[in-house]
């Protein structure tokens, strides 16, 4: 079957199937839904969908609340695939971040840098050796001015089964509190695997305008699903991830597609669609 044949079938058959779909709901149903939906909290979609319209300049004025959501959405990439602790920065490569007026401001600027990047999401799996040999990869990550000389992830005490993932996730909320030079931030975002709000805690140790250590913990809504995902990822060959994402713009097509391929592969192996 040629590509042209497939394309012809797609046009013909999709039309045939969709023609069987007759919408059942009315304007009154929508009005009722709007009334009922007034108190809905911001959802994944609420955040995600702000992105394109804003970029297309359809929104004329932005309220502070909306701006927060937009920023969080265009962001939001960060996030470890969960259940994992990432230890970043062992102290020898720290560089200034945006605002060093107080530990809190410095930490917030760093978190903004972490969560404020744009581009394709990606995910990569690494063994500890691969990490050690590939610190340049992390230096290319859009972590703002956080330089990362090395990254080691630990999963249930195993340094061999290391998994690091960054991906686009709608950030629902963020708050930071400082206790001396230690700043704790809590991020609430929409978990990809669970679809539910998940909590992430960041602990940043600040020295003036530098982040000298950074610890990230994720508390998944679906720990079993997350564990299974991480177990699966730990078995993968890290080479494609490194080749696709290292030394280039991490938001590149290849790197982003890799992430989606991995997720698709995982879901397919689990028997999903």
């Amino acid at each position: 079957m040629t590509r042209r044949t497939i394309e012809r079938r797609l046009r013909r058959d999709l039309d045939a199937v969709v023609a069987t779909a007759t919408p059942q709901r009315s304007w009154d149903d929508l009005v009722a839904r709007i009334d009922a939906g007034i108190t809905r909290p911001p959802s994944t979609e609420d955040v995600t969908m702000l992105e394109t319209p804003v970029r297309e300049s359809e929104i004329i004025e932005r309220s502070p609340h909306r701006r927060l959501l937009v920023g969080a959405a265009s962001v939001a990439m960060l996030v470890l695939v969960v259940g994992v602790t990432i230890l970043v920065g062992r102290g020898d490569g720290d560089v200034p971040v945006v605002d060093g007026s107080s530990p809190l401001r410095t930490a917030e600027a760093a978190v903004d840098a972490l969560t404020g990047s744009d581009g394709e999401a990606f995910m990569a799996f690494f063994t500890d050796d691969a990490l050690a040999n590939n610190s340049a990869f992390f230096n290319d990550l859009p972590l703002g001015r956080l330089d990362i000389p090395s990254v080691r992830t630990a999963f249930e005490g195993s340094v061999d089964a290391a998994a690091v993932g960054w991906r686009r996730e709608p950030l629902i909320d963020r708050s930071c509190e400082a206790d001396g030079d230690l700043v704790e931030c809590e991020l609430t975002y929409q978990g990809y695997l669970s679809g539910q709000p998940e909590l992430q805690r960041l602990e940043l140790r600040v020295d003036g305008d530098r982040i000298v250590s950074f610890r990230q913990r994720v508390f998944p809504t679906d720990p079993e699903g997350t564990q299974a995902f991480l177990d699966w990822g730990a078995r993968l060959d890290p080479t494609p991830a490194i080749e696709a994402c290292a030394g280039i713009d991490w938001a590149s097509t290849e790197c982003g597609e890799l992430w989606y391929d991995l997720i698709d592969q995982y879901l397919a192996e689990q028997g999903g669609e």
Partner: protein
């Protein structure tokens, strides 16, 4: 709580808007069909589109082109649903009997594609969008869309041959 209050005011104002109702009359059926092509389930497609209209209602006063916003909202919500469905491992309901067997077969194969490939293919061959337009809808580079299309078509070819 203060945020919820602002939200309520905004939504109530939009509820009575003739502009929203006109948009609904003009776009609803077409958006439901597009969502159906994406998620394969009419009931869920209508949920997606109704929720998308709620999103539009909340921001209607700020939107110059609510139709464009609505389209993005429908596609975004449909993709989100597909991803969650994959996690829940739930398949869409079967098609009605009047659908030709060939179309039924293609529909099934399409449902097995990864979400990105499926979305790109539906938007291209049902929606009639160009790759650059799909890239805007899916918030990704056009090159990525073309790659998804290529891979999706290849998978369909293999499955249907």
């Amino acid at each position: 709580m203060a945020g919820a209050g602002r939200r309520a005011t905004s939504v109530r104002a939009a509820t009575a808007s003739p502009r929203l109702e006109a948009l609904f009359r003009r776009e609803y059926d077409g958006m439901v069909r597009l969502a159906f092509a994406l998620v394969s389930d009419l009931a869920e497609a209508e949920e997606v589109v109704q929720d998308a209209f709620v999103d539009v209602a909340e921001r209607l006063d700020d939107l110059r082109e609510p139709g464009g916003y609505l389209r993005v909202a429908v596609v975004s919500r449909s993709r989100s649903l597909l991803r969650r469905r994959a996690v829940r491992r739930r398949r869409p309901p079967p098609l009605p009997d009047e659908v030709p067997p060939e179309a039924d077969e293609l529909w099934d194969v399409l449902a097995d594609l990864p979400e990105q490939q499926r979305s790109a293919i539906v938007l291209r061959y049902y929606g009639g969008y160009r790759a650059s337009e799909i890239a805007d809808l899916l918030d990704c580079p056009a090159a990525t869309v073309r790659s998804w299309l290529r891979r999706g078509l290849r998978s369909l070819q293999e499955a249907l041959s």
